[in-house]
Each structure stands twice: as structure tokens, then as C-alpha cells.
Point group: C2
Chain length 380, copies 2
């Protein structure tokens, strides 16, 4: 058994993004072929602690060996918990199973959970870590573009309920994030594109220059050139800045939900069936809807929406509700999901709207009847 020499030191090419949250601060390491660094980093930061790796069957077949060997070569005792792949694991049942599996390992309060996988595993494992013995530390090793640029940063953890997505969970910040851009080489193109929707989102929130850079460089991001690490690092930095300013979403953190209120409703309508719609695709359609709704309210020039649609279509993302396979939703059904969304307050809806490209803002006083009329038009 030979281990890559890279595991004993950080590759020069790795980038660091620091998430500044006081005593809950942590670093995101970004670069190609970083998995082998996990063991040395773990041993250095948490010397003597043990690890419970939570992953899913798909990721286990691809990356578990490298992660486990890296940890064990650094003397870290590891336990492995392999769950079913897919959104259904982010459920009460998945939570129960994962909690019991971690308790089975007899890990102690000072040990760590390692979340190896995409957003489902990261959200679930982070939640599990947050509630076992009232809080264990955890490490994110995100293996999808979506989780590298979004769900592994910021400490939101949770599961879905029959009432909607992410309605059960808590804020629990990781102690370390390791984003290896090389693992994305094994990602199906559809999943890469879905994650890319969140990358584009950072441009659309408040960075038109980044959006223009993506329009020029997206092909290299998809192909795996250096632009990929650049895109991941800029996305993580953008999210880290927002999270550091508003950890628990009292205000501006809500900007990160651009496209998400519509997107979550579409995911709910599609019963979280990944065959029909994955999260990033819902966000892509949701961002287009947010721009169209802003235009309808007279806030934003329709040409901005055209530019957004053009770019998302270029990378292969869906941009309208009609692109979702299967039965079409009614506006009533979508409004029902929207009303149940976490961001509702006192009967008013909160939406992220925009005044132009990269000029998004939080609007808390949206009249539900305006949204319903808009959706009826879109579904007509």
C-alpha cells in the first residue's frame, strides 16, 4: 500500500477561505487532489480524536478508500457509516439511522464526524453531529460542486419533512471544510450543472463582474481547468462574507436564498424526485422566476432576465417550469409550498428580488396575491 506523498503536506496550489465566526471560525481548503491532506490536517488540528465517516453508497465507491487511508495513515481511528444515496436519506428515518450508527461507534463528545458526500450527506451528518451528546465537532468533505460552493459553508444543517425541505435542523458550524475539485471529475454532467446554478447565483446576488467572468469562463470550469478552483473559491468567499456578517439569518444572509423560495416549491411539487428535478435545477428556474417577478413589479429591466436565461441555458440548466418532467403544478399547490417556507413572517412573504444584474435585495413585504397572479401567468 503506497500513499501519495502529497498527504504529508498541503499542495502549494491549495487556496484557503477563512469563515470568520469568532470562536466558531473555520477554514475551507480548496484545490485539486486534496483528499490525501485530510489525515495530516485532522491529526494536527484534533490530535487524539477519532472519526466517524458518514457517506453514501455512491460516494463510498469512489472516494471512501482515499479518505479512510489518509486518516488511518495519520493514526486516526476511523469508523465508517454508509447510507443510501439520495434525498430520501435526509429524513427522520435517515436521521434516526445515522444517530444510532454514530452511537454504535462509541465515539465520545470530543471526537468528530466527517461528512463525505454531497449536500444530502453534509446536511444530515452536520445535523447528526449537532445533536449527538448535544454537539460533536464535524468536518465537511463535499464531493459535489453544489456542496462545495453552498451547503458545506455556513453551518445550516437539517432534514426534510413531509411539510417541506430543511424544515427540521439547526445551525452547527463545521470545524474544517476540504473541497477537492478533482473529485468533481467523477460527477455526472447534470449534477455539475446543478451545482453551477449556485455558482452563478453569487454573481446574480451582488457581483456582476463575477457573472461576466462566468459567462466567459464557464467552459473551463466545467472542463476542470484552473478556472474551476477560481469559481469555487470565489463562491465560498462570497458565501463566507455573507455568513460572517449574519450567521443566523437575521437579515442579509437571506440574500443567499435568491431563487430558493420558488425553487423549494418546485422541488416540493416534484416530491424531491431527482429524476424530475434536483435542487440546483430548482434554483436555476427559481432565479429566472425571481428576475421575471422583479421585472413584473417594474424593479428590473427584462433584458437582465434574458441574459440570465441565456447563460443558464448555455450551461445546460432548465430555465422554466415547463422544463420539469411529469405533471404540471397548479399555482395553488406552489403557493401552498411557498406559504410553508421558513421565510414567511406574519402572512407576508419574503423574496429575494433584484433591481438589475447583481443587484439583489431582501424584500419582506411581498403580497401573496401578487405572487399567485404571477405564477398563474407563468403556468397558463
Amino acid at each position: 500500500m503506497s500513499l501519495p506523498h502529497a498527504s504529508s503536506s498541503l499542495p502549494d496550489a491549495s487556496r484557503l477561505v477563512h469563515v470568520d465566526l469568532g470562536e466558531r471560525s473555520y477554514d475551507i481548503h480548496i484545490g485539486r487532489n486534496l483528499l490525501g491532506n485530510l489525515g495530516p490536517l485532522f491529526a494536527k488540528m484534533f490530535g487524539g480524536a477519532k472519526a466517524a465517516i458518514i457517506t453514501d453508497k455512491t460516494v463510498a465507491g469512489l472516494h471512501l478508500d482515499a479518505v479512510q487511508k489518509s486518516l488511518e495513515a495519520s493514526g486516526v481511528e476511523t469508523h465508517v457509516i454508509v447510507l443510501e444515496a439520495g434525498e430520501k436519506t435526509k429524513s427522520y428515518e435517515g436521521l434516526t439511522k445515522a444517530c444510532d450508527a454514530v452511537l454504535d461507534t462509541r465515539l465520545e463528545r470530543g471526537d468528530l464526524v466527517v461528512a463525505l458526500g454531497g449536500g444530502v450527506i453534509g446536511d444530515l451528518a452536520g445535523f447528526v453531529a449537532g445533536i449527538i451528546r448535544r454537539g460533536m465537532r464535524f468536518i465537511q468533505v463535499p464531493t459535489t460542486l453544489l456542496s462545495q460552493v453552498d451547503s458545506s459553508v455556513g453551518g445550516k444543517t437539517g432534514i426534510n419533512s413531509g411539510h417541506g425541505k430543511n424544515l427540521i435542523g439547526l445551525f452547527h458550524q463545521p470545524s474544517l471544510v476540504l473541497a477537492d475539485s478533482a473529485v468533481l471529475d467523477t460527477l455526472p454532467r447534470r449534477d455539475f450543472a446543478a451545482g453551477y446554478a449556485e455558482v452563478a447565483k453569487y454573481g446574480l446576488i451582488n457581483d456582476p463582474g463575477f457573472f461576466a467572468w462566468l459567462e466567459a469562463n464557464w467552459q473551463e470550469v466545467f472542463a476542470g481547468g484552473p478556472a474551476r478552483e477560481e469559481a469555487i473559491a470565489r463562491s465560498c468567499q462570497a458565501k463566507a462574507d455573507v455568513v460572517a456578517a449574519d450567521e443566523r439569518e437575521a437579515g442579509q444572509r437571506a440574500l443567499l436564498n435568491l431563487g430558493h423560495t420558488f425553487g423549494h416549491a418546485l422541488e416540493g411539487m416534484a416530491h424531491y424526485d431527482a429524476e424530475r428535478l434536483v435542487h440546483g435545477e430548482g434554483v436555476a428556474i427559481g432565479m429566472v422566476l425571481a428576475h421575471e417577478f422583479s421585472a413584473r413589479l417594474g424593479l428590473c429591466d427584462p433584458s437582465v432576465t434574458d441574459r440570465v436565461i441565456a447563460h443558464l441555458e448555455a450551461v445546460g440548466l432548465p430555465t422554466h417550469i415547463g422544463a420539469i418532467a411529469g405533471e404540471k403544478p397548479t399555482s395553488d399547490l406552489l403557493m401552498d409550498f411557498i406559504a410553508q417556507d421558513k421565510k414567511v413572517s406574519r402572512g407576508n412573504l419574503t423574496f429575494i428580488l433584484t433591481r438589475g444584474l447583481g443587484q439583489s435585495f431582501v424584500e419582506k413585504g411581498v403580497d401573496p396575491s401578487e405572487v399567485k397572479s404571477f405564477l398563474e401567468e407563468k403556468l397558463a
Copy 2:
């Protein structure tokens, strides 16, 4: 329908204990016939918010009407969730059911959960509040002596798993606690005595004067005279002082676990079967064991143990393992539960030991083999 006039203002006799935790600070109101104050207090503190009352079937039959009427008379929209009574509700299944029930009410993030019941309801409802939409506020209205003096103060919430008690949960502080000593009049004597074990604990931790006061006044505490409010208030104050100094149990908060490591193991051995052993009874036996173990280590004079046993027996509490009905545990089984306890670190056991009456301290380096020998002697 006539409401008591007392509901519009605080009775003069109520006592306030302030739990000082910075932005998570809150007040505990203690007094007779306080239930009618909930509505006015709620309206004043959380004007406009709605309430989901989580309770169990037993408590609902006794006190739900008063609580609900008080809230509604103050204009608070209420929803009621009634769960099965008993420790089995503090489970994954109970958690799932309660979360879904709160989501069914369509309450929003700014609304509140009201936990009306004993420790089971308080621990579960607090946990539910902590994880719905990543955190709703909640109010404790404890209806047992145990929950008034212990579980409703300090923010520990959680459920049991097959691996042990309270292994899944989080720290989530209530926004208000209302301890009505009159509701204890309806409590079975056995349950009152079990709660009293935690009252006596505060004396045994660090207040020998309070223990002596209890020896002289326990009959009035049981009978419902003014000594009852005094005992509750002193207990809450003692716990509030410890929690304010160490909210997340990094150090001295562990003192509150006096008798609990043994007690939890005994509860686990008895399968949390309330017919055989309730929590406070486990704590009573556990406190005696902690004193006996301290004496065995040469830390504490055996006469202290005799005094503890005499007082606990006087109030009708069990004081030795043999008093538990049903099959006797083996030392191996108890050690297994002890090893799984949250307070284990790096193979050493943490116990609360004592050097004399009211002179408890945290000992992190207890050798498991010493504990096993001690238990073997006790079980011989």
C-alpha cells in the same frame, strides 16, 4: 366562563429567579396559582406571536384548560398537541410526531412552543423548538417538582436512544419559565418524592445549610406550605448560578450530575420502566452510591452517607439498588451503561464525588476498574 382576576397581574407572592446568560437570559416565575399569568406575560413579552402547546394526556386532563384559557383571554392564538404520557415519548418516534404536529399548525419562526408538563414534555418540546426552522423560542410550564427544580432550568433538551438517556439533543434555552407550585398538589406522592431527590441534591452539591433546612422543613415542602416555594426557588437559584457560570458544561456544570452517572445506568438497566424506577429515584440511589464510593476512596466520612440515607428514606425515596423491583443488574451491565454516558472522556470516567456534606467536586480521572469493584461489592 369566568377567568380568575389573578390572570391580569402577577400575585404579590410570586418569586423571580433570573438566569443570566447574556442574550439568552430569562426569568423563572415561581408561586402558587400562577398558570393564569401565562397569557398576560406571553402577550407582554411576545405580542402578536402564536403558541403551540405541547403536553401529554395526563397533564392535559388537569391543567391544559387553564393554560389555554389564559392565553386565549390575552388574545394569543393557540394550537394544542397532546402526546402520550411517559418516558417512551422522549424517543425518535415522539420527536418525529411532535415536529410534524408543530409544522401542521403552520406556526412561523417568530412564534413559540409552550411545554406544559414534566421533564419528558419539557425535554422533548424544547428539542422540537430548537430544531424546527432551525430554532423557535419556547416557554416551560413545568408541572412536576422534578421539572420545576431541574429539567426546565438550563436549556438541556433531548430524547433517549436505545444506547442511553438524553444522548440526542441540544442546548436550547427557554424564553420564560412559569413554575406554579399549586399544580404539584395533583402530583402522586411517589413523583413528588422523586422530584425532591433533585431538591436535596442542591444541598448535597455545595449547600449543607440548605440540606439541614430540608431535614427540618421537608414535611411542609411535601404538604404544600410556603416552604415548598422556598425549596423550589432555592433550587432554581442554585441551578441558575451553576448554569450561568458554565452554560455548555465545560466544567462546573457537571456538578449538577451528582448521582446521575449511577442513576442513568440504573434507569437504563430498568429499561426506563417507570413502574420499576423513575429518574429521581435513580438519582436518589445514585447520590447514595456517589457518597459510598467517595467513602470507599477515603474521601468522605461514612457518617455523611448515613445522614444522606436517613433523610432520603425519611421522605420515602429508595436508597439502594436492591430496592428496585425486578431482575437485579450485573456490574458488567451497569458498567456498559456508564461507559456510554456522555461524561466519558478518553477512557476515564467522570464522576461527581464528595469530601463531606455539601462538598461535591468533579473528578475526571476515575479508573473504571475501581467503579466496577465497588459495584460488585454493592451487588454481592
